[in-house]
Symmetry: C2
Subunit: 333 residues, 2 copies
Amino acid sequence: MTTIADVARHAGVSVATVSHVMNHTRHVEPETAERVRAAITALRYSPNSVARSLRRGETKTIGLLLPDNSNPFFASVARQIEDAGFVSGYTVILCNSDGNAEKEERYLSVLMAKQIDGLIFAGSSDHARVFARLLPSVPAVLLDREIQSVNVDSVLVDHDHGGYLAGQYLAGLGHKEIGVIGGPRDSSSSPARLRGFVRALKEAGIELPASSIVDSDYHFAGGRMAMEQLMAQAPDITAVFACNDLMAMGAVTALRSRGLRVPDDISMVGFDDIPYAVTTWPPLTTIAQPVEKIGTLAVSLLLERLGEPEAPSRREVLAPVLVERESCARLRE
Amino acid sequence: MTTIADVARHAGVSVATVSHVMNHTRHVEPETAERVRAAITALRYSPNSVARSLRRGETKTIGLLLPDNSNPFFASVARQIEDAGFVSGYTVILCNSDGNAEKEERYLSVLMAKQIDGLIFAGSSDHARVFARLLPSVPAVLLDREIQSVNVDSVLVDHDHGGYLAGQYLAGLGHKEIGVIGGPRDSSSSPARLRGFVRALKEAGIELPASSIVDSDYHFAGGRMAMEQLMAQAPDITAVFACNDLMAMGAVTALRSRGLRVPDDISMVGFDDIPYAVTTWPPLTTIAQPVEKIGTLAVSLLLERLGEPEAPSRREVLAPVLVERESCARLRE
DNA sequence: TTCCAGGCGGAAAACCGTTACACACTTTTG
DNA sequence: CAAAAGTGTGTAACGGTTTTCCGCCTGGAA
């Protein structure tokens, strides 16, 4: 490995001068600077970021802690974050927690030890200790979650409103007997989606009995099984609201294997608008989250906070929209 | 930030002793060790990994450079790698190149500057300079690619064989007029898949005219457009081999919007077996890559090399398998 | 003309937080 | 009683950045 000392020797100057040339941190005589640059290219020198980080106290690294990067929703978010970070000179450490609080804590410790400059955290658990103890010591942006703390900003999606849109839509199509496939109870998103959905139904004069709600896990297989259970518990439903697309897709599969057709027999609404919502049959009507904005917004919030650590914490809330495709039909009598 | 010196002072010992206690790098008197541990927890001390890395010359970090982590195939691979790395104490830096050689080079420079211990590289471009100049200076595992170089191992998939399986299967179903949607010409995988496919057809006495092959980009929209073109160029085909699932799914969409049904009118075979191959309608018959093995194998090769830097370079080749679902039918006359 | 302040360009040295090596001191051991 | 083992300390590294220092030159005032 060639070091700054090698360059200095080769150029016949001191290491300090080499540093100044590289970082434009002080004026150096053009002729000297040229000699230094020549030495740098001649030796193919590249400064050691670890040493630089140690001295500067910044690593140009941000930690990204999310439940599962192979979930297409998070995959998109991760991609956006990685892109946005890179153009600002930041590098991303990827961490999957599976929503497991213990893993989250372990990862957070590692990330803090690695001296990340900032954290983007899509936690799926709500364990107070994780937040309270570890978060405040590093600038962070929370996705889909809030916490009263200096230093922590939030990018939120109005899940309640999204659920409301779904309810309004299905009620508007004339459905009266409606089933719901919920996500994890301890997530922040699923209960809110459900809340908005119920409110919309209530406004339309529709009750949602407990037997028409089955909780699941946001996964494809979970959605399939939940749908099975739903068919058993509430055989008369004509429409289903699944709290995310993956479960909606699983539910459609379950229906198909029972010989039921979507939307002819049962209408289906999902949530998220993952890229694969259009590749299923029928293309899924769903509540779209503004994925591309979530990632870029998170990064820009984080960078702004790095620039101004003491600024009051901010919360940005993004509105989901209904994307009408072909998985819903008007109730026919 | 509390440092090792604070701990030493608090425990009334030297920093060296604290270091030894933390790293079990020498025996220390139980009583002393206990005092040190008490100080560590009292001060909530956590060692600074950056300083440690500088001193030890290792960062416990591996770089993961791939075209696009939101592509579900790479998303799965990334997930496996992240998991496998974490259990061995390694952290993953995520980099998306979009298969762009310039981006690859920029990323490689950054990663090298950050002193990653190893690299896992799924390049989609083939530019020799990237390999020749930068790769040999860091232990690396290439996915789906080979290079004669010390220090570089490969995890390969037998794409040729996969393509052969697809060709054999479609020929076996009686198809004679077959179309192909290819991936990028400069990828390593697509040409190999095509080669195997053509070989299988040839063995079955089937010719593949140039007009029956349309190249695309491995994306959903690309597959859709390619299928449009294919229908125009070769209207008599009864089966299509798409060089990945995403394109196959796009092709199915294109067919459906033309009123053609899969598999009744046209049979479709994909490649990869991404998780969403089962969520489309019809469920996609495809050539499955052993995704879960690719990631874990890559990590274990890398770790073994880190342990033994001078070992001869290894290549592991994994066999794809045909997964028969419902997107193909026997040709009926 | 002399003197001194101040700017300039470079070198030297301190520092960032840990680890590893050499050494000092005590206690066993043969 | 010398050699060896056992514990602990001091202090160079590691590879950069940043602060301080220093000699030189310029220019304005005395």
